[in-house]
Amino acid sequence: MNKKIKLRVNGKKHELEVPTSRLLIDCLRYDLGLTGTKEGCSVGVCGACAVLMDGEMISACLTLAVMADGHDITTVEGLAKNGELNPVQKSFIQYGGFQCGICTPGQVIAATALLAENPRPNEDEIKDWMMGNLCRCTGYYKIIESIQKAHQFVK
């Protein structure tokens, strides 16, 4: 069964008809071609599919596309403005916040949501917030450092 939905993704309006069983992650990746968001565990644990819905981070693998109808979605592709990376992205590059890169879109989305709430988080606050984003390369020290220093890139 299909349903017509309206999404605003990274500021751009889309009207699509999707099967009701379509997951948001598949809608973003296959219907809209936004492959930055990754699917890891498919049960909401790993954080690779993190996106922002109305500014709040959610798991795109646990959300049906029809549940996002009328909402504002931000994926990793939408963080840069006019070709300029956001402070978290710059900091991840500067301080080596990734190794293989598969978890990075989710890490960057989660860190961006954290800094929106708490611009200068300490290490404990970062660990508490980021504990739902897994990195199989175990590059956590560099991820934490990148988030802690991201404020340096805020203009």
Partner: protein
């Protein structure tokens, strides 16, 4: 997932009408964080999802009759972030903070979580220990169900297919009362508990007699379990350190855990005793902390600020 209809009623009346149309083939969905997984795994195959996401006015958190009323559609994150709850009932703030990850807490609702009825969840033991009730609403009206009687089996509750959890009510606490929720997490911070324990303790005004106590456990049976025999050991008794350990020992008799990757049944049983004792000790420490705040609000403020957690 097999094909299904997706309906978006705008108010409870429309929800009830849609549920009537589809009968027990319909499933309610709010945050979907548990239901979508069960549908992916084909454990649940509804012919229609009735979304509660467009229903307004069921997510408030407010003081009522001296207690606290939490709307069934309040998200876990709203509960965790409520300054009213942090002030009035920090035990619930901490309990909801323990649930999964922020991504899940942003979507998962209080009512949806309870209706899901996984015995590994965090909120049920705390709500049972707090003496909370659930309000369930259908087209025929509403009824109030004590949390104690709500869970019947693994993923089963007393709710009828046409009922919606619209509210949770936590009654006013007696004087000299505090609670604690402890979650034993030997693996990862976002895991389900190996064992969880909630205790709400009331002392008499001399702080020497236990006038009341409620204890509940999670992850050690097919439902959350209230440890009534352990409570009976303490109720009306003088406050002494050994008594908490005795209650812990007694609580072990109430549990029936299964062996899995979070620990063997024997180990979980042992830990149930340990965590009941610790939850009681923490509840007692919280009563004493409250008494200090009351006696000298300024000094107490200093210490709480130091231990501030985001």
């Amino acid at each position: 997932m097999i094909p299904f209809e997706y309906r978006t009623p705008k108010n409870l009346k429309e929800v009830h009408a849609t549920l009537k149309e589809f009968g027990s083939d319909a499933k309610l969905i709010a945050g979907g964080t548990s239901l979508v997984i069960m549908m992916k795994q084909r454990l649940v195959r509804p012919s229609c999802l009735v979304s509660l996401r467009s229903v307004r006015g069921l997510n408030s958190i407010e003081i009522s009759d001296g207690g606290l009323r939490i709307g069934g559609l309040a998200t876990h994150r709203e509960v965790e972030s409520s300054s009213l709850l942090r002030r009035r009932l920090p035990m619930l703030t901490e309990t909801y903070h323990h649930v999964a990850t922020i991504r899940v807490r942003n979507m998962a609702t209080v009512g949806g979580g309870l209706a899901h009825a996984d015995p590994n969840q965090d909120p049920p033991p705390s709500l049972i220990a707090l003496g909370a009730t659930v309000k369930a609403t259908s087209a025929d009206g509403s009824r109030v169900i004590p949390m104690d009687d709500f869970f019947t089996d693994y993923y089963e509750t007393v709710l009828n297919p046409d009922e919606i959890v619209t509210e949770v009510f936590v009654p006013k606490m007696a004087a000299n009362t505090a609670g604690a929720y402890l979650k034993f997490l030997p693996r990862t911070a976002d895991d389900y508990a190996t064992v969880s324990a909630a205790a709400v303790l009331t002392l008499d005004k001399t702080h020497k007699i236990i006038s009341d106590v409620r204890i509940a456990l999670g992850s050690v049976g097919v439902t959350p379990i209230r440890a009534t025999a352990a409570e009976a050991i303490l109720r009306g008794q003088p406050l002494k350190a050994e008594a908490f350990a005795e209650a812990g020992e007694k609580a072990k008799e109430a549990v029936d855990p299964v062996s899995d990757f979070r620990g063997s049944a024997a180990y979980k049983k042992e830990m149930a005793g340990v965590f009941v004792r610790r939850a009681l000790e923490k509840a007692l420490a919280n009563i004493r902390q409250q008494a200090r705040v009351k006696a000298s609000p300024k000094a107490a403020k200093k210490t709480t600020k130091k231990g501030k957690k985001h």
